[in-house]
C-alpha cells in the first residue's frame, strides 16, 4: 500500500512509501495523523495550504460486512478544526484495490475551472470537466458511469461544493451506482471545490485486493463476526426499518428535535416513524425497497428506497437524521415532503443535518412557518440560486443565525447538532460538547446505554467510552451498524488485524486506537487555537428547559473537562 499525493495545481501524481508512523492507522486516525504532520492548523481551510485526504479504514478491501467505509478529511471550513467524515459505497473498496493507503490532494489550480481526477492502476490524470459544472449529483453520476464504465467508483461534489458552501459534503456512489453515500459533515465539499475537482473517478481494473498475511485466519475470524452480526436482534430492525426505527425511540426519551430544538416531543412522531415508513413503502410497492445495501457484501442492509404513490423513487435512502432535522425539527410530519427536501439537498451534495438545523433557525426567524414543507423546499432552492439567504443556509446553522440576527443556535464548534437533543440524551450532549469534530452523533452516541439519560452525573464515562470506540471503528473502516457485531465478539478485531497485517495486538486494541486518534485530533485543534472553552454546549441549552422533561444541559464544566482523562 502506498500514499498517492496529487497536486491540483501541477496536476501531478507522486507515489510514496507509507511512513512507519502511519502504517498502523487508517481512515479517521490516519487523517488526524496526516493533518498533524503536514497541515498548518492555522491555515485557511479554503486556501492553498489545506489538504483533502481520502483514507480507507484498516479493514477495508475484502468485502467484510459493513467494513468497507471511506473516510474523507481535512481542516474543516465549518468548524476551523479537524474533520473526518465517512461514508459507504464503493470508494473505499476500490481505492484499496489500487493499493492506496491514503490519497492526499494538495494545493489549488492556478486558474478557475472544473476538473475530474481519474485514478487507475498506477496512474492519475486530470480531465477538464466544464460540462459538468453546476450540475447536481443525480445528473452527473450517470454521465460518468456511461463514460467510464459501470464498474468504477465515483466520489463527487454538487453545486454546494462548487459554491464553496461550508455545509457541502462529498457524495459517493453506492453499489448500484446511485450517488447517495455522502461524507456530509464539516464542509469538505467546499474543500474539494476549491481544489477545482467536481469528481474523482476510481477505476480499480487490473488492481487487486490488499494483501492478507494469513487468509485462513482471516476467514475464520470473518465467520465468527458474521455469525454474531446475523444472530443479533438489531439486524432485523435495521433490515426492516432502517435507522428510521430511531424516531419513536428518541421520541420515547423526549429527545426528538422539534421546531428548532424547542421541544423533544413531536405530535407527528408516529407519522414520520420507521414503522409508518415501512407500512407506506410496502403498500406503495413499485421501486420502493424497505431493505437495501449500500456496500457490496453488507449483511445488515439498513438502507431503503423511498418511492411516491406511483411507486417512483423520491430518494434513497431516507434515514433517521434526515427525518429528524428535516421533519420534526421543522414541524413537518409528512414523509413525502421530507423525502423531497432530502432529494434536493442530496442533489446539491449538502449536509442534511446542517441545512436542516439552518432551516430550523430560519423558521424561528420567521422565514417559514413550522410545518410548511413547500416553503422549506423553496428555501432549499434558494441555496441553488445563490441568493444571500440561500448562501447563509448553505453555510449552515451558525451562518444563518448570523444573517438573520438569531443568537440561539443548535451548534457546537460551529457544527449543527444531530437529531438527538443533548438536554434529554445528556451523554450525547457531552459528545456534542467535547468531540474534536464538533456536534456529531456519530462521534459517540449514547442513546442505547442503559443509564438514566437525564442524570448529569453518569454521562461522562458513557460518552468517553463511546467516543473512544467510535474513533477506533472509524479508523478500522467499520460502519456503526457493524460495530454491534464486533461488540458481541470483540476478540475478532485483534484476530482480523493479525490475520491481515500480521500485527500482534492485544484485546485492548480498540481502546488503544481510539485514544490515540482522539489525542491526535485534539492536538490538531489545540494548534488551531481551540481551548477547553470550546468544549461546551451552547449557553441557552443550560438555561432553556426542554419539554416534556423540562430538562436543561447540566453536566458540569469540570466533568466536561475530564472526558479525555484516561
Amino acid at each position: 500500500m502506498k500514499t498517492w499525493r496529487v497536486n491540483a495545481r501541477e496536476q501531478t501524481l507522486t507515489q510514496e512509501a507509507v511512513p512507519e508512523t502511519w502504517e498502523r492507522l487508517g481512515g479517521r486516525g490516519l487523517i488526524a495523523r496526516i493533518l498533524v504532520d503536514e497541515v498548518n492548523a492555522k491555515c485557511d481551510p479554503l486556501g492553498q495550504e489545506n489538504k483533502l485526504i481520502y483514507a480507507p479504514g484498516l479493514l477495508v478491501g475484502h468485502r467484510l460486512s459493513s467494513c468497507d467505509r471511506i473516510s474523507i478529511g481535512g481542516k474543516s471550513p465549518l468548524t476551523g478544526g479537524v474533520k473526518e467524515s465517512n461514508g459507504g459505497g464503493r470508494t473505499g473498496l476500490q481505492l484499496t484495490h489500487l493499493g492506496i493507503k491514503a490519497l492526499i490532494i494538495e494545493d489549488q489550480p492556478a486558474e478557475n475551472g472544473t476538473w475530474l481526477l481519474h485514478l487507475s492502476k498506477d496512474d492519475a490524470s486530470f480531465v477538464k470537466a466544464d460540462n459538468l459544472a453546476g450540475k447536481g449529483v443525480y445528473e452527473v453520476a450517470p454521465i460518468l458511469l456511461e463514460e467510464y464504465g459501470k464498474h468504477v467508483a465515483i466520489s463527487l461534489i454538487g453545486p454546494g461544493g462548487e459554491m464553496f458552501l461550508t455545509g457541502a459534503g462529498i457524495t459517493n456512489i453506492d453499489k448500484d451506482g446511485v450517488p447517495s453515500r455522502i461524507c456530509a459533515r464539516g464542509g469538505l465539499g467546499a474543500v474539494m471545490g476549491k481544489k477545482g475537482l467536481k469528481a474523482i473517478v476510481i477505476d480499480s481494473s487490473g488492481g487487486e485486493k490488499p494483501p492478507i498475511a494469513n487468509s485462513k485466519e482471516f476467514k475464520a475470524a470473518q465467520k465468527v463476526y458474521n455469525k454474531a452480526l446475523m444472530e443479533h436482534p438489531q439486524i432485523k430492525v435495521y433490515a426492516e426499518y432502517g435507522t428510521a426505527g430511531m424516531v419513536r425511540m428518541c421520541h420515547g426519551f423526549g429527545g426528538l428535535p422539534t421546531r428548532d430544538f424547542t421541544s423533544g416531543d413531536f405530535e407527528g412522531a408516529e407519522d414520520i416513524s420507521g414503522e409508518t415508513m415501512r407500512e407506506v413503502l410496502l403498500e406503495r410497492g413499485g421501486e420502493s425497497e424497505t431493505t437495501h445495501a449500500c456496500m457490496a457484501g453488507c449483511t445488515i442492509q439498513c438502507s431503503n428506497i423511498y418511492a411516491d404513490e406511483d411507486g417512483k423513487t423520491i430518494v434513497s435512502p431516507l434515514e433517521y437524521e434526515n427525518i429528524g432535522l428535516l421533519g420534526s425539527n421543522l414541524g413537518i410530519s409528512d414523509l413525502d415532503a421530507i423525502a423531497r427536501l432530502n432529494w434536493a439537498l442530496n442533489d446539491m451534495a449538502l449536509d442534511t443535518i446542517e441545512i436542516g438545523a439552518a432551516l430550523g433557525v430560519a423558521a424561528s426567524a420567521g422565514e417559514m412557518e413550522f410545518g410548511d414543507g413547500e416553503r422549506a423546499l423553496e428555501l432549499v432552492e434558494e441555496i441553488r440560486k445563490g441568493t444571500p439567504l440561500g448562501q447563509a443556509l448553505g453555510n449552515g446553522a451558525v451562518a444563518t443565525g448570523r444573517l438573520l440576527d438569531v443568537e440561539r443556535i443548535p451548534a457546537v464548534k460551529g457544527q449543527a447538532m444531530s437529531a438527538y437533543d443533548g438536554r434529554a440524551i445528556k451523554g450525547t450532549g457531552v459528545t456534542y460538547a467535547t468531540s474534536p469534530q464538533g456536534a456529531d452523533h456519530t462521534c459517540g452516541l449514547t442513546i442505547r446505554a442503559k443509564i438514566d439519560h437525564l442524570d448529569p452525573k453518569v454521562q461522562v464515562e458513557n460518552s468517553r467510552t463511546s467516543q473512544i470506540k467510535m474513533a477506533a471503528y472509524d479508523t478500522l473502516g467499520v460502519c456503526a451498524m457493524g460495530s454491534f457485531g464486533f461488540g458481541k465478539v470483540p476478540e475478532t478485531i485483534p484476530a482480523l488485524l493479525h490475520a491481515r497485517y500480521g500485527w500482534e495486538v492485544g484485546e485492548d486494541i480498540l481502546m488503544e486506537i481510539g485514544q490515540e486518534v482522539l489525542s491526535l485530533e485534539r492536538e490538531f485543534n489545540r494548534m488551531a487555537g481551540f481551548t477547553a472553552a470550546d468544549d461546551r454546549m451552547p449557553k441557552w441549552t443550560t438555561e432553556e428547559p426542554l419539554p416534556p422533561h423540562d430538562a436543561v444541559f447540566d453536566v458540569s464544566p469540570e466533568d466536561l473537562d475530564s472526558v479525555f482523562n484516561w
Binding site: M246, M249, Y320, Y420, L445, I447, I451
Partner: protein, 79 residues
C-alpha cells in the same frame, strides 16, 4: 392497573387489522416490567431490549404504576 404500552419496530403485534404498535394492558397492581414482557410473550432476551418508563430508562425488575407509559424497544443507533 392499566399501562400504556408502546411496542417498537419488530416488537409490534400482528393483528387482523394490521400491525399494532400501541396498546393498553391490564396488569395486577405492583407488576414489574419483566411480568409485562412475559404477559406479552416477548421472547427476545431482555438484555437485548431497552425500556423507557415515562421517558426514563428502566430495568426489567422495576415496578410499574397505573397510567404509566412504557416503551419496549430493540435499541439501535442512528443514521
Amino acid at each position: 392497573m392499566q399501562v400504556d404500552v408502546h411496542l417498537h419496530s419488530i416488537l409490534q403485534r400482528q393483528t387482523p387489522d394490521g400491525l399494532l404498535r400501541r396498546l393498553d394492558v391490564e396488569m395486577p397492581e405492583g407488576s414489574t416490567i419483566q411480568r409485562l414482557i412475559d404477559h406479552l410473550g416477548i421472547e427476545i432476551d431482555p438484555e437485548h431490549l431497552l425500556f423507557a418508563l415515562n421517558g426514563r430508562v428502566a430495568h426489567p425488575d422495576q415496578v410499574m404504576a397505573d397510567g404509566d407509559e412504557i416503551h419496549i424497544m430493540v435499541p439501535i443507533s442512528g443514521g
